[in-house]
């Protein structure tokens, strides 16, 4: 079989499982992060700081292991970019953290949170402007606050980090192509999204700050989540797979019990997340719920989403429970404990995979993966044992290997879905920094192709929007 045939076979296998159906074999889709460095003979520092080496490491793994899909670079944060922007919240291997580790996100202490408790109204009024004016100067060692004297280094930091982002993002196309042509491996996800509540905790108020706000000003927090929704959903939609094959990645951090109590989940986390997921599905995009930690308390809520609109990934939760509660609607992935993959014996890995396959994968709709991303502690031998075992044992009989290639959204009826469509439009449209209407007021009377002038202004303005929201969500 040539590489393209292999790719097509794996793509069909992966999409069939995403559709919660039975493929020919259980797809294997390990989220390998610093593991790739260990396997490919690079250091963690190398893959964090030089994304070309990270790409190469991912390719070497994809070439050598019989995996159906991988992430083009799960050591996602390129520290060359974070350094250019002067981001305080990343430890760079060899500078702030030991060179033997990958990039490290570092949460600021409570009193140095990047957004203060009395700044909600400014965030709500215009989230994009708030990010540029208040958040960015605070998270950066280089970029100065509006109103402060401009500096050479501040300008440099903006230009360098923005161009670095462009270079980095543009490198993904060729990397995805390499995975396809050199390894026959599918790029597992496309696009990024986080729940409004999580973003407030992760990058703005911090977890402790947000917890206190939930006690003191819960309504304001809710308004902030609502104000973030259209902007975050815009990022999800504009970064999603245009072919609508692979899901948008939703990284779920701290919206679950016990981080929040059940009432907070019901009042804040879920009502501001669910409409976004439905909005994606309305547009034909499936979302991968990468449920970090334990989300067992919320499975009944997730079950209210439209059939096939998500795949549910299990980290430390109970995958058997998730299967009982969700399998009738969604595919599942993950559930193999990282501790086992790092410190267990190959026969224990095989035994655990067998148990999961027997109980969860019988009717298809299961994608094999560890619970959490795999760092350099994951044993190569164990990951090989997982792969070999799944290929031997995870075979279904009677699955069609030809016929039309169906995507997760094919055949779904979304006509009744509301998503975000019934919500009032925000003052500044998502994806926009400086609206054309505002710019127009500064310009002399226009002539010629006015539509061209508007379109190009808006397309370039959107780049400014991409920069700041990507910093917030991806870096």
């Amino acid at each position: 079989m040539n590489t393209e045939e292999l790719y097509q076979q794996r793509l069909r296998r992966y999409l069939t499982a995403l559709r919660n159906e039975r493929p020919d074999k259980i797809p294997i889709r390990p989220f390998v992060a610093e593991f790739t460095a260990k396997y490919a003979g690079f250091t963690c520092q190398q893959v964090a700081h030089d994304f070309n080496l990270a790409f190469e490491a991912a390719v070497r793994c994809a070439r050598d292991f019989d995996w159906d899909a991988v992430v083009p670079n799960m050591v996602y944060v390129w520290t060359g970019l974070t350094q250019a922007a002067g981001l305080r919240y990343y430890g760079i291997p060899g500078i702030h953290v030991p060179h033997t580790t990958g990039f490290n996100y570092i949460e600021p202490p409570e009193e140095e949170a990047f957004m203060r408790e009395d700044e909600y109204d400014a965030l709500i009024a215009d989230p994009t402007a708030f990010l540029y004016e208040v958040w960015l100067p605070r998270v950066s060692t280089e970029i100065v606050k509006p109103g402060q004297p401009a500096t050479y280094r501040s300008h440099l930091a903006l230009v360098k980090s923005a161009m670095a982002m462009m270079v980095y993002f543009n490198a993904f196309g060729p990397q995805i192509q390499r995975l396809r042509t050199e390894c026959g491996t599918v790029s597992a996800i496309a696009g990024i999204f986080k729940a409004p509540f999580d973003i407030l905790a992760d990058k703005l108020r911090g977890y402790v700050g947000l917890t206190l706000d939930m006690a003191r000003q819960p309504d304001t927090v809710l308004r902030a989540c609502e104000a973030l929704m259209p902007h975050l959903a815009h990022v999800g939609l504009t970064t999603a797979d245009p072919a609508k094959q692979v899901p948008i990645g939703l990284w779920m951090h701290r919206g679950c019990v016990p981080f929040v109590n059940p009432a907070q989940f019901r009042s804040h986390y879920w009502p501001t997340l669910k409409p976004c997921i439905e909005e994606f599905w309305r547009h034909g995009h499936q979302t991968m719920f990468y449920a970090e930690g334990k989300w067992d308390a919320h499975l009944d809520d997730f079950a209210t989403l439209p059939e096939r609109s998500i795949i549910f990934h299990v980290d430390q939760g109970d995958i058997f429970l998730a299967h009982r509660k969700l399998h009738h609607k969604f595919a599942l992935s993950g559930g193999i404990p990282n501790v086992l993959l790092s410190y267990g014996q190959p026969e224990e890995v095989r035994a655990y995979c067998k148990k999961v396959i027997d109980e969860v994968a019988r009717e298809g709709g299961y994608i094999l993966d560890a619970g959490a991303i795999m760092q350099d502690d994951t044993s190569i031998e164990n990951l090989r044992a997982l792969t070999d075992f799944a290929r031997e044992y995870g075979v279904y009989s009677g699955a069609p290997t030809d016929g039309p290639l169906l995507r997760p959204c094919d055949g779904a009826d979304v006509s009744e879905l509301v998503g975000l469509s019934d919500r009032p439009a925000p003052r500044v449209r998502p994806g926009v920094c400086l609206p054309w209407e505002a710019k127009l007021k500064e310009l002399p009377p226009l002539s010629g192709d006015v539509d061209l002038l508007r379109r190009v202004w808006e397309n370039v303005d959107a780049l400014g929007n991409t920069y700041i929201w990507q910093l917030l969500l991806s870096f």
């Binding site: 402790v208 206190l212 006690a215 019990v257 016990p258 907070q264 430390q316 502690d377 994951t378």
Partner: protein, 212 residues
Amino acid sequence: MSTPDLQPLYDAVLSGDAKTARAVTEQALSAGVEPLKLVQEYMVPAMGEVGRRFECNEYFVPELLLSARAMKAALELIRPLLAASGAQPAGRVVIGTVKGDLHDIGKNLVAAMLEGGGYEVIDLGVNVPPEKFVEVAQEKNANLVAMSALLTTTMPSMRTTIEAFKAAGVRNRVKIMIGGAPITQRYADEIGADGYAETAAGAVPLARKLAA
């Protein structure tokens, strides 16, 4: 002077109301109530109840955090008086998140629960090297060491720390307890820790058992 009603202190810790906890404590102290009585008869039982509620899913991390803050607000006033009176804590714990690991939400909850259990807690923060655990445990004459790890990559730091206690010849002077999401009883046994607790609330009975 009549003895003030101290039930509101218990209630304030339980409901996470730091302002009231502090105010009631202030009143009680100025009315001459024994600081130790405040701790032992009101705060420790309140935090015990917080732990119980956490264990049976009536309380969650937000409630734990708020109760811990209320307790701390009161303790700030009480602690100097306790020290001056020479009252002995239930035990002395050195706690920290192990080397290489920066996760501290769980560790802070454990520290608060132990404090609420009447222990003196010396919190070394995150990314604590083995030598530091050993040094401070000796210096402060601690009888318990508590380590937290959240990453599978940093679990081995627990083993290294236990080895550092052995190498310094002081392993038998302390009981060592460990916890954190990826940790199991099996791992604790494997590396020669004295105990493992799955939750922050579970850390208090474990400490009592180990130091008994």
